[in-house]
Amino acid sequence: MHGVTPGEVAALKVENVSHAYGSRRALEQVSFTLAASTFTVLLGLNGAGKSTLFSLITRLYGTQAGRVAIFDHDVSRASGEALRRLGVVFQPRTLDLDLSVLQNLRYHAALHGIGPAQARQRARALLERVGLADRARDKVRNLSGGQMRRVEIARALLHRPPLLVLDEPTVGLDIKARADILAHAHRLVAEDGVCVLWATHLVDEIDERDLVIVLHHGRLLAHGTVAQVVAANGGTDIRAAFTALTRERADASEAS
């Protein structure tokens, strides 16, 4: 159900990926596949390995073991082709506070080989969509946290990537801003056919229609629709299922 139908190219394919920092293992044999035009929530507590996984998908770190491919382009061996199909919103804020919104977007466009004129045009359109067209010339420093996040999402879409990954994009935002950004990400899937991978530790950011991946202590514990994950792990809703999944593991690791 959550896999990729035969003949279709996977938007993101993670195969047997393991990663360690010295002796500490951050990821163990993680494998999953995301199809185009889907919204997947990567759910995990702090320290589950979400950010490490993101660093591998974005080629920030070299892959130690396993393989990551974006639309069939290996991130290590064909990184150019892979990265041009990938949009990223990192967990820490990565905008230049002293530059204007438009300057930030123009810089990012240049990194993707998009010239100033085209960049301005695309930036205007994207800012319109995130409701910040009137703030284009403002310094980023003067924006609220939620507005900065929206700018970062607009920036990640400048080069029109078919895959968008967001690492805990709602950290530090109020309820309204969180809901806005979540809704915007869902629209990208529905209207533009973008594949979205949304990492969070907050169960209430999961929608019934989403796909869910549960990551705990570097291991993938569940992957499927919300209904599938709930059914497989008992309980009445995804919160109960997630609690059950992560508690069992905690008990098991304490016992061993």
Partner: protein, 283 residues
């Protein structure tokens, strides 16, 4: 929009134009940031000016500089140390920006840079070019102020010194990146000051001609000869008087290539993050 996605996916490889846009974008951003960071600009200027106004003025009577190439007449000590101070500006600038590429708060911005689809070696080289461009602004501002202090190289010298400055900037930036990537212990700028900047600056021909060093300590003279900073200073000294010091040029060019290749190979973005992870526990 879905059709646009399709056409984008079919495009493959990168045109020369993509590379050029990327480079100009990185240099443009670095320039903008520089203009916003006035304190950095001012401190970059105050340092050499303190040397020029105070140190050189005080030592003018103590140190006599004989006529050595490229000078054709006796020069004041201020004039002698100006090339050294120029390269010192570039040394500080190169170390500062390279260090921030490995450790600093800039890490967030490094991430955006590194997810560009262009090759990583190219992105890092663009960063070095951008930091070199910023050092040029600093150097020319310094030279403008020095002109009022009666340090007046021939007008053509302001132009002929430019290629030397570009080469110096690249070499020192690459050296900074290499050092901060390889040496774990240099966690902050104070460490770099003590173990890199001061030794490089003092064990060079920046403050005293090598023949004078040779007379007092042949060993120190040898160290100076082995110091790439010395050759950057001599290259600049000659270029400022529209002359070429071929051996200095060859050494600086060679070091630039070696440092750049080594820096790109040694650069590992995981390091700055791991250093922070130890403190912050972010995963």
């Amino acid at each position: 929009m879905s059709t646009q996605l399709g056409s984008k996916a079919e495009r493959s490889g990168f045109a020369l134009r993509d590379y050029a846009i990327c480079l100009s974008g990185i240099v443009w951003r670095e320039g903008l940031r520089f203009l916003h960071q006035r304190e950095r600009f001012i401190s970059a200027l105050v340092r050499p000016l303190v040397w020029l106004f105070i140190f050189a003025a005080g030592f003018r009577q103590v140190l006599g500089v004989a006529i050595i190439p490229p000078y054709e007449v006796y020069v004041l000590y201020e004039e002698y140390i100006t090339p050294g101070l120029i390269v010192m500006i570039q040394l500080f600038n190169g170390m500062q920006s390279s260090l921030s590429m490995v450790y600093d708060r800039e890490m967030g911005n490094m991430r955006t840079l590194l997810v560009s689809p262009l090759p990583r070696w190219y992105l890092l080289s663009c960063k070095l070019v951008a930091s070199t461009a910023v050092s040029l602004l600093q150097v020319y501002t310094y030279l403008a102020i020095a002109w009022f202090w009666d340090i007046k190289p021939p007008p053509i010298g302001y132009l002929t010194v430019l290629p030397a400055l570009i080469l110096n900037g690249l070499m020192l930036g690459a050296l900074g990146m290499l050092i901060s990537s390889v040496v774990r212990q240099l966690e902050n700028f104070a460490g770099v000051m003590n173990f890199v900047i001061f030794p490089m600056f003092f064990a060079s021909s920046a403050l005293y001609p090598l023949w004078q060093v040779q007379q007092s300590s042949p060993l120190l003279a040898l160290v100076c000869e082995l110091n790439p900073f010395t050759h950057a200073v001599e290259l600049t000294r000659f270029a400022l008087y529209a002359k070429i010091n071929w051996s200095a040029l060859a050494i600086v060019a060679g070091c630039t290539v070696v440092f750049m290749v080594a820096a790109v190979v040694a650069y590992d973005p995981a390091r700055g993050l791991i250093a922070r992870r130890g403190a912050g526990g972010e995963t």
